[in-house]
């Protein structure tokens, strides 16, 4: 079987790094795997560059760094967790922010609150303004920002809420393996 020269191995290492793989463990595994496939490809004919390009492209769907994100994702998902789409995440966030205030005003509207609570509205109003309005405006701006501006949570991101990591954002369609 063809054996790659040290320069070719170095070249593949640089390509792997240039594609965003930073975990040493993953770099080593990919390097060995790609080298084996390239050596096999060279046996069947073709130049090193052609074979490498073909092999490299078969390693991922969109970007190679997806592998690293998947690796980090899988090693961080421990214990109960909840994975939400961006839309759901914001709906939940809005709901959590708004629900106490909405509940209060609903009860007030129905005259179900004790008389003593009549003094509260101004306080509630101020807190709504400070604690809710501005965060909601900020979130709305993020929500409606076009994807090309790389907002805080990209449009196709998945947001994971869990014990291991309180909140994590993933830029790809993360698969929950087990």
């Amino acid at each position: 079987m063809a054996t790659l020269a040290d320069e070719q191995v170095d070249f593949i290492t640089r390509v792997i790094r240039a594609h965003g793989i930073r975990l040493q463990d993953l770099q080593d595994n990919l390097l060995d795997h790609i080298c084996i496939l390239v050596e096999q490809g060279l046996e069947q004919g073709g130049s090193f560059e052609e074979v490498l390009a073909r092999v490299f492209r078969s390693c991922y769907h969109k970007e190679l760094y997806e592998l690293e994100e998947e690796a980090l994702f899988l090693s961080s998902v421990k214990g109960p967790r909840l994975v939400l789409s961006r839309g759901k995440f914001f709906r939940w966030l809005f709901g959590i922010f708004l629900s106490p205030y909405l509940l209060y005003f609903l009860l007030a509207l129905l005259h179900w609150l004790p008389a003593a609570y009549d003094v509260v509205p101004m306080v509630i109003f101020r807190w709504t303004l400070v604690g809710c309005f501005w965060p909601l405006v900020s979130l709305a701006v993020i929500f409606f920002t076009p994807e090309r501006f790389e907002p805080l949570i990209p449009r196709h991101a998945k947001v994971m809420l869990g014990g291991g990591s309180l909140i994590r954002v993933f830029r790809f369609e993360a698969s929950l393996v087990e």
Binding site: T13, N29, L31, C59, Y60, L67
Partner: protein, 118 residues
């Protein structure tokens, strides 16, 4: 999940990759990544092909969970990483296989299937 397949859908294979890898490591003392992909292809007659994108993140996760131990071999400038089961991994493998076996039996019952060889 990056499992390319000839017969089975991704949904069907989802959740079985860890079990597959653990079982292979239980049957073989130590294996490296490429070897695992080839062994799966060979056993399943090409019906399941595990890609790099599926395998290495899973191996990374198994190592983080301390279910596998690793040793490296230097081949020129390359590092070949061999994986083998840790004591915790051996226990986990049994659990996973029992769970999957029970699941398959339940599905066989549910769908009124007759077991058939591949």
């Amino acid at each position: 999940m990056y499992i390319s397949h000839m017969v089975y859908s991704t949904e069907l294979l989802k959740g079985t990759l860890k079990t597959i890898v653990l079982k292979l490591l239980a049957d073989n003392k130590k294996m490296y990544g490429y070897e695992i992909t080839q062994r799966v292809k060979e056993i399943t007659a090409d019906k399941i092909q595990i890609t790099e994108g599926a395998l290495y993140p899973t191996l990374h996760a198994l190592e983080a969970d301390k279910l596998v131990t690793t040793e490296v071999e230097y081949i020129g400038k390359r590092v070949r990483k061999y994986y083998s089961l840790s004591p915790a991994g051996k226990v986990k493998t049994k659990e996973k296989i029992n769970e999957l076996t029970s699941f398959i039996q339940t599905m066989t019952l549910l769908l009124e299937l007759k077991p058939k060889t591949i």
